[in-house]
């Protein structure tokens, strides 16, 4: 029995020693990569933000030995792994990890809204041309929805879904008097939403909240990608079977996607932040640095710091 107790206490001390090993941060250590899996929208946003689009859906382009985790998994891992680097959506950043500056700009919501923080993408919307709706009811509901996006109610929904809304001051109750269409029963009207699939969750939440406020119109969602956002509202497919009333794009509209006056705008920012352990000496990265890290050109932290 004595031997058993001795053995057990030895094991415990061993464990404690193992856990309490407070060593200096060693820059010659290898970098451990953390990434989301290939179906993640955050991964797509991050990879395009650092100029490594081709790795958004291709694991084999990443350096060997990466760890695949979800948003929370990466956050908690970075509190443990002193030599890891990962990325999470900015909304989930807390003080258990270090959020890296991107091109010298600190990752804060204020810096996203004033458009100085670079690792982000806009969530944009586009509607049909105002003279191109089948009837006035559909047009007015669409306009009311766009107005709803700019309210504090819309902003709350965007925040809940992990994105960063643009600043807004009025609530829906303040402006709903301008939208008589929402007073009547619209349950026979279907409004079609499409475009970026990264925005699908936000769009679903927005329409689910807005439909009851606007005569219970029926929102129909079919999100197939950013390029279909413009194409199916004002572009080549606007009169096809897949036409939409509102399209979304999780990137800036291209020069070829300029619609008629007053039909396009932004509803939110999707900001991503590269995170490391608090002990990590790195504080700032450039897009090129991150690309080199994820591609495996930098294997150790030394190489990045030198």
């Amino acid at each position: 029995m004595k031997k058993l107790v001795l053995l057990f206490s030895l094991f415990l001390t061993g464990t404690l020693v193992a856990c309490g090993g407070a060593q200096e941060w060693d820059s010659s250590s290898n970098i451990t990569l953390y990434t989301r899996d290939t179906s993640s929208g955050t991964r797509a946003g991050f990879m395009s933000g650092i100029g490594f689009d081709e790795a958004a859906e291709d694991d084999s382009l990443l350096a060997d030995g990466f760890v695949i985790k979800d948003n929370t998994g990466i956050l908690t891992s970075m509190a443990t792994d002193e030599y890891g680097i990962g990325y999470i959506s900015l909304a989930s950043l807390d003080n258990t990890v270090k959020g890296l500056q991107f091109d010298g700009v600190a990752p804060t919501i204020a810096n996203v809204i004033n458009n100085t923080y670079g690792l982000k993408r806009p969530f944009n919307y586009v509607t049909r041309s105002l003279d191109d709706f089948a009837n006035d009811t559909e047009r007015d509901i669409t306009l009311a929805f766009i107005a709803f996006l700019q309210t504090t109610d819309g902003a709350d929904i965007v925040t809940n879904e992990g994105a960063i809304p643009l600043s807004s001051s009025e609530s829906w109750d303040d402006i709903k008097a301008d939208y008589d269409i929402c007073l009547q029963d619209n349950s026979a009207v279907t409004i079609k939403f499409g475009g970026s699939d990264s925005i699908e969750k936000i769009a679903l939440a927005l329409t689910a909240a807005f439909a009851p406020k606007c005569g219970n119109f029926v929102p129909e969602h079919d999100h197939t990608g950013s390029s279909d956002g413009f194409k199916r509202t004002q572009g080549s497919e606007k009169d096809g079977d897949n036409y939409k009333h509102v399209g979304f794009a999780s990137r800036p509209f291209k020069d070829t996607e300029v619609g008629t006056e007053g039909t396009q705008g932004q509803l939110a920012w999707d900001a991503i932040v590269a995170i490391v352990h608090l002990n990590n000496e790195v504080t700032n990265v450039t897009p090129e640095d991150l690309k080199k890290i994820y591609r495996g050109d930098y294997a150790t932290w030394e190489q990045l710091l030198s």
Binding site: T38, S39, F66, K69, T80
Partner: protein, 324 residues
């Protein structure tokens, strides 16, 4: 009431029953038969559904991507080469090896501990203590796997990360073979303990008394007589344990690191199992990338069947001492 009586009469005439009793008996039997058919048909429905979905990537051209090569799928060392949704170069060969390796290691840890615990509870501990311990083991067995996963990602990952540091190895945040094995060993421990305890308790007292009468000590008897007599039951316990280890998904995917190539034999590097690979991104993917997870499911079912058949074969070879 009249209606029921009428129906009774009809059945009675139809099947030439002699009395009302026989009709009731017949109906009850029919009821049992129907429940059996319902429960048994689920296995058929599941197998048909999984096979139907899982075979798709191999026989169709997956919307222009091209069909998946079966040999490559079963022997390759990288989960997917090329861009997701645009490539058909899937393989699970290394994942099969990872899965078997991890399950075997966790069994190696859990079995000795489980069997010794069972021996203690069944033979050595005082009655009150053994009752308390038995409840504890039952509680452990009832803890859902996600809780083990959270425990693993909160405690075991940190432990493994620091342990690796002591050995001078840099582990990716503790996400590793070792962390997975420890979590799985914890999970299958109660199964093995509970079943081994039943096996040990059902060893006949006569055998034990005989051994004691021959002058063997209690400990000698426990190890050389009781355990050898119960070995068949203990082996069954291990079979169930390894079944749970092979099939566990949630907890594993939280601590394995989900490596996309391998196999991983090194303790401190990331790994992946068939189940964790199926789970990764399952809710957000479509097309071939979704269907292929069903193919992995077929592979998993085959692996489990083969493992069980193999272990049962070994169990028969070990032989059996007569137990109650």
């Amino acid at each position: 009431m009249d209606f029921i009586k009428k129906q009774f009469g009809k059945i009675k005439d139809l099947f030439h029953f002699n009395s009302k009793k026989e009709v009731v008996d017949f109906i009850i039997k029919l009821f049992f038969l129907i429940s059996t058919i319902v429960s048994a048909s689920f296995i058929v429905i599941i197998i048909v559904f999984i096979t139907k979905e899982g075979i798709k990537p191999f026989v169709t051209d997956n919307g222009g991507i091209g069909s998946v090569n079966l040999v490559r799928f079963l022997t390759g060392t990288t989960w997917l080469e090329g861009t997701a949704f645009k490539s058909n170069l899937y393989s699970v060969g290394f994942i099969i090896i990872n899965t078997l390796y991890i399950s075997l290691l966790s069994l190696l840890i859990a079995m000795p501990i489980g069997v010794l615990t069972a021996l203690f509870i069944a033979k050595i501990a005082p009655k009150r203590l053994s009752e308390i311990l038995r409840t504890v083991i039952e509680l452990l067995a009832a803890i859902p796997s996600i809780v083990y996963g959270l425990f693993g990602s909160g405690i075991i990952l940190v432990f493994v990360y620091n342990l690796a540091k002591v050995f001078g190895v840099q582990s990716p945040g503790g996400n590793s073979v070792l962390a997975t094995v420890l979590v799985l060993a914890l999970m299958i421990l109660p199964t093995i303990t509970a079943l081994s305890e039943v096996a040990i308790r059902s060893v006949e007292k006569d055998i034990e008394h005989g051994s004691l009468a021959l002058g063997a000590t209690k400990t000698q008897t426990n190890f050389k007589v009781v355990l050898t007599s119960a070995k068949s039951g203990i082996f069954s316990a291990s079979i169930l344990g390894i079944g749970r280890a092979l099939g566990e998904a949630t907890a594993v995917s939280l601590v394995a690191g989900n490596a996309r190539s391998g196999p991983t034999l090194s303790f401190f590097q990331t790994t992946s199992t068939l189940t964790s690979t199926m789970l990764q991104g399952l809710k957000e993917t479509t097309g071939i990338d979704y269907d292929i997870r069903f193919s992995v499911g077929i592979v998993l079912m085959v692996v489990i069947l083969l493992t069980n058949a193999g272990l049962n074969f070994v169990k028969k070879r070990i032989g059996n001492v007569h137990v109650k």
